[in-house]
């Protein structure tokens, strides 16, 4: 069955085809080839010819030339364009010609390391004569093998974590290797952004320092996905200049890229049909047609849910036609995400390469260059958060010169919908930039401790290009360094590298276990902060398609005990947070108010959770929890409204617009409530005089109707004429949702609700747009809003902050990009076709909010 037939199938399908809003076909491209370099070592040339490689792509050849010329190189070409061969070739050539030379390869994950080691070992065998001796040296390497690897391997593959904690602090064992170190390869350098990238930059400063001690000045060769600033990013990571090679000489087959937009079922409310049924239908078609598929989902939980549902489809089919051998069994569909144990993952990867597994449902854990072979189709459920991820995920499809298909199934999330209208982000030039801060004070301090442990610092010695005198003084003052005759010495019995994790702000891990007949089995691991909300007591936790109930959370040991569960609900944690100002770094007046950059303390806690039914999401139960508070001292960017702007927004009288129809019984209900409340305002106590008091909906009427309609129509998937059913009106008019207020109190309360929803909406628009330019995940940024914030002396404000201790530069960049950010926000909200806010623009408001679209527009107009 060919891909063409599948495409035809989608085209003919009445459910699917009308919803494909964009269909780009990238014509097949012939490769731009050059001959193999003439000065290539003959044994290597022969090995290449044996593997059927007779030519190089032009970018591979350019890499060869640049490396031979002694330059640092960053290679930024698409997925599957032969980047590994590009950097391997000049390095292997050098190792063959100069047997004393050494090379160090860094990969972000152990999985990728394994993968590349296999490839290199094959080449090494093919070259023969024991000229190329690659070996992995990481946390899994058996102690007994280590010294042999150090002394005999001329190409070592490892990861930054091992370099940091296992190699550099013991550099005397590596003298022979380091003194001959000619090349350092950093694969997938775009992965190293934010905290991880800032750590890596410092690990490399340490490596360069020690290599220099042994007389080596290695050359760096890096690869990157296609991002806006590969060269700048690479140069910041290595602290040296680098040459960018980005003309892609590889060829490919015809590529189809579709955007699938679930239909609107209520344009006014911006409600779209759930994408899941259509997604499952596509998945089912691909399985039937026998094409191998990867289905990407954004969240670990979504992976598990889709896996479960896909398998159910297959099981139903199996039952219907027991004897049909051609049927794909449910075991040929597997999940893949972080939290799975590594042996489990290796097995899945292998089965994918061998074609045994027909479909894998994965998170971005499978996005990195892990070799699972090329597949035919990439189905992406939702925009993965960065354009480069999207391209990498799409790039999983495409074998050689045969055609391939990538489908992005849009969710109703704001970025998905923004991309639907601005496809230039997907198909145009790269706009997102990787951001790191190698001089982040906490990260720098940690690595200076390590560096000092590794070698004393001389007076005036720099770290990379950085003056670090003040830091060394600080380390000395805190009793970990000793200074004499200008030289600083490490003076502590601690081994500093062991306390620093490169991946995480927190080194704390929570282990998830279950008991099988008295024996404890590790199900998975989570970082401590995530575990508080993902695996709190009584949470439903999903792993490997299995559903578990959290029985016990031992906070002291960091141990969560799970038991298998077939509950028909899931749990939704409820988090509260408060923000304290530490210090303002920069504050400026801007149109309509002010923008501020400053240090803040974010205190958050999981206070409870809600049980909701699978499917409709109906609330079954709410429960309270006591979990520890987590504190984050970070940097935030906040905007606040000036008093004049606030007054102008109030004057527009937004809240009196479009009066609601409260139903035919309203006058009766209203009078009953006034009587119940003894005709007194329940806020100020004022008695009713000439004018009747107002009756106020605590949870706004519009909000209850909107949510009720959403539940209703999500379930029935029809777009019939929308009449608000009486039962919804009754729900909104429940007596306990109503309260008597005097006119002025009512105005204040309503105003508060409106400002709240305006701020909530603004916060969610800004946060989402920010991730587009910052190339960060949604989890890297936090938002908070407050109509009367202490951060802004009581005026309404929205703050976006870095979810990293001390900040990593996200907020600082947003502070600088303030105007552009607000312009984009206004463009997004104003051009959204919905009436009063939808998930695609200002987002769903909180439990007590309303749509808030007009409020957001009002605020933005004041400020743009």
């Amino acid at each position: 069955m060919s891909l063409q037939q599948l495409i035809d199938g989608i085209k003919r399908d009445h459910d699917l085809s009308p919803n494909i809003i964009t269909w780009r076909t990238l014509p097949a491209k012939q490769a731009d080839l050059t001959n193999l370099p003439i000065d290539l070592a003959p044994v290597l040339e022969k090995a290449l010819l044996d593997q059927g490689i007779h030519n190089l792509y032009t970018h591979q050849f350019s890499t060869w030339q640049a490396v031979k010329a002694g330059e640092n190189v960053v290679l930024s070409t698409p997925t599957a364009s032969g980047k590994s061969l590009a950097y391997n070739l000049p390095i292997l050539d050098e190792l063959i010609k100069h047997p004393s030379s050494r090379a160090l390869y860094l990969y972000p994950t152990k999985a990728l390391t394994q993968d590349q080691a296999n490839v290199l070992q094959q080449t090494a065998r093919s070259v023969g004569s024991n000229l190329i001796k690659p070996a992995i040296y990481d946390g899994d390497t058996v102690t007994g093998d280590r010294s042999k690897i150090r002394s005999s391997a001329n190409l070592i593959l490892t990861n930054p974590d091992m370099l940091h904690a296992g190699i550099l602090p013991h550099h005397t064992l590596w003298v022979d290797f380091l003194s001959q170190l000619k090349f350092i390869v950093i694969d997938e350098i775009h992965i190293y952004r934010g905290v991880f990238g800032s750590h890596l930059a410092n690990v490399l400063r340490r490596l360069n320092r020690i290599a220099a001690r042994y007389g080596a000045f290695p050359q760096f060769i890096m690869t990157s996905a296609t991002i806006a600033n590969p060269r700048e990013h690479a140069e910041r990571v290595i602290g040296r200049s680098a040459r960018l090679i980005d003309e892609d000489g590889s060829g490919h087959g015809e590529r189809h890229f579709m955007l699938f937009q679930p239909p609107l079922i209520d344009p006014g409310l911006g409600l779209r049909k759930s994408a899941t049924p259509d997604l499952l239908k596509m998945a089912e078609m691909t399985l039937e047609m026998g094409v191998q598929t990867i289905l990407f989902a954004r969240a670990r939980r979504t992976v598990e849910i889709l896996l479960k549902q896909t398998r159910e489809i297959l099981v139903r089919k199996e039952k219907r036609s027991i004897n049909d051998r051609s049927l794909i069994s449910s075991h040929q569909v597997m999940g893949y995400r972080s939290g799975y144990l590594s042996a489990e993952r290796r097995q899945i990867e292998k089965a994918l390469r061998e074609g045994e597994i027909r479909m894998v449902v994965a998170t971005n854990a499978l996005e990195l260059g892990i070799d699972i072979g090329q597949l035919d189709i990439s189905l992406m459920f939702g925009y993965p958060g960065t354009i480069s991820s999207l391209r990498q995920q799409a790039g999983r499809a495409g074998r050689g010169l045969s055609p391939s298909l990538a489908v992005l199934v849009l969710t109703s999330g704001p970025l998905d919908q923004y991309l639907a209208r601005h496809t230039e982000y997907i198909f145009g030039r790269d706009t997102e930039a990787a951001l790191i801060d190698p001089d982040h004070p906490l990260i720098l301090l940690e690595h200076l401790r390590c560096a000092l442990f590794e070698l004393p610092f001389s007076h005036g010695e720099k770290f990379g290009e950085l003056d670090i005198g003040e830091f060394l003084e600080f380390i000395k003052e805190s009793g970990q360094a000793y200074q004499n005759e200008g030289k600083f010495y490490w003076m502590s019995s601690e081994y500093p590298a062991s306390t620093i994790s490169l991946r995480n702000a927190s080194a704390n891990i929570t282990t998830l276990v279950e008991f099988e007949k008295d024996r404890q089995r590790v199900v998975g691991k989570l970082d401590r902060e995530s575990s508080y909300w993902m695996a709190h007591p009584e949470a439903i936790y999903l792993h490997g398609g299995e559903q578990y109930l959290v029985k016990e959370f031992d906070l002291e040991k960091g141990l969560v005990t799970l038991s298998r569960s077939n509950a028909d609900y899931y749990t939704d944690p409820e988090r509260v947070q408060e923000i304290d100002l530490i210090q303002i770094q920069n504050a400026q007046q801007v149109k309509g108010g002010s923008k501020t950059l400053g240090e803040i303390l974010v205190r958050s806690r999981v206070v409870g959770f809600t049980k909701r039914t699978w499917g409709s999401g109906e609330i079954l139960e709410k429960a309270a929890l006591e979990m520890p508070e987590t504190n984050l001292n970070t940097v935030g960017y906040w905007i606040s409204l000036s008093a004049e702007s606030l007054k102008r927004i109030e004057k527009t009288g937004l809240w009196t617009n479009s009066p609601n129809d409260y139903g035919k019984f309203w006058p009766m209900i209203r009078d009953q409530i006034r009587e119940r409340d003894h005709f007194r305002c329940q806020v100020c106590g004022a008695e009713e005089k000439l004018k009747n008091h107002h009756v106020h909906h605590k949870t706004p009427f519009r909000e209850i109707i909107r949510r009720g309609m959403a539940e209703e129509y999500n379930r029935t998937d029809s777009d019939q004429n929308l009449k608000v059913p009486q039962n919804l009106i009754d729900r909104a008019n429940r007596l306990d949702n109503l309260v008597t207020l005097c006119e002025s109190c009512h105005r204040r309360v309503e105003q508060n609700v409106l400002i709240r929803s305006g701020l909530a909406g603004l916060g969610s628009v800004l946060k989402n747009l920010a991730t587009l330019s910052l190339m960060c995940d949604s989890e890297d940024l936090g938002i908070h809003f407050d109509p009367q914030s202490s951060l802004s002396e009581g005026s309404p404000m929205v703050v976006i902050y870095d979810m990293v201790s001390a900040g990593i530069g996200f907020s600082a960049k947003l502070f600088n990009d303030h105007e552009q950010l607000l312009l984009q926000a206004l463009d997004l909200v104003e051009n959204c076709p919905c009436d009063d806010g939808c998930p695609a623009c200002v987002g769903p408001a909180g439990e007590n909010g309303v749509g808030g679209k007009s409020e957001v527009i009002a605020i933005l107009r004041e400020m743009v």
Binding site: H170, E477, S492, S493, Y495, S805
Partner: protein
Amino acid sequence: MPSLSEKLRSLGVRVGTDPESKSTQKPANEPVRVNLESVFGGRLVSTERGLAYFVEATYPADYIHGIYPISTQNTLNVISQVVNDPRLAQMGYEDLAFIDTETSGLNGGTGTFAFMIGVGRFIAGSFVLRLYFMPDPSMEAGMLRALADFLAPCKALVTFNGKAFDAPLLRNRYLLNDDICPFNGFAHLDLLTLSRRLWRARLPSRALKYLENEILGVFRASEEVPGYEIPWIYFDYLKSGDPEPMKRVFYHNTLDVVSMVTLLNLFNSVLEDPHGEQLSHGQDIIALARVFEDLGMWDDAARLYERGLREQMPEEDFHQAVKRLAVLHKRRGDLELAEALWCSAAEEGYLYAYIELAKLHEHRYKNPSVALSWVERCGTMISTKELPDYEVYYWRIEIEKRRERLVRKTKPKSSG
């Protein structure tokens, strides 16, 4: 603008930013260590890599440390076989360097260094001990060079856990100071390994201090300092410049080195003269027997087993030794002695002895019917004992596979 220190503190950096730890900080670049000599004696010497400071003490040949003299007439012959290093057999005590370091930590890695190196060797019959001490980290190169000069005549290191710790650490330090490690190519006697072989069964700990109390008759004075405090005493000394508290570390290091000497002497004398009276505890003698058994010196081993078995010891150890001795007899070809040991063990109800006797009669004496009778008696024995199920299961298999074969063998051939 807040200072860096304030900023870091506000970000939650905790380590020692409190004002108290600052007060003990001495002002930078204070002139180096004025009164070391007045406190410890000792002297500064210049080397080609800078100054070095050491304290020297000489112990005459008749010096008694604990209950043992510091000098000995023994050779290194047997011990060279025990540690399987023939180079030692060619050496005398004057070729040995006894070394122990005091370090800034126990974690290893290039940030851990030795600030004191105690090293002793025999010169003209006396034991000369030097404690090289680094009054300032900037003097490391000088200290290492001075140590190298002192080690120049030596051919072997004697340490306690030095193979894992002191030697690699010092090797690192030489490397980091661009100097040549003086003991490359030396033989290395690690007394911890030997201590484990002799006292694993009897003593709950093989730490040097414990061996001093239990074996060497050495009891440290109140000046002694626990090992984990040592780095901090040195760091405090660097900060305050006050050498007084370092006295305890000097004392500690001195004893560490001197005790190694008498410990080696004890090893040598029991190895050279295994049937002497140095060891009295049954378990120690049995452990020594095993050392000789491993060396293939079976006659000495058998004598030691027999001697050890006459002493008091826990019952389980006793029977383990009997079992080993019987096997040893069998290996030496002394079947009767082995048989006698097994018979008495069988009388006491040890099941293995029945099986050994069955094996002896079946394979050596070629007498299947006697062998069969031992197997049958073993079967009866099991039923009289209260054994855990798995053990019964194990013995049943041992019995059944023999019984089947022996029954076949005992049948007259003509009937087959």
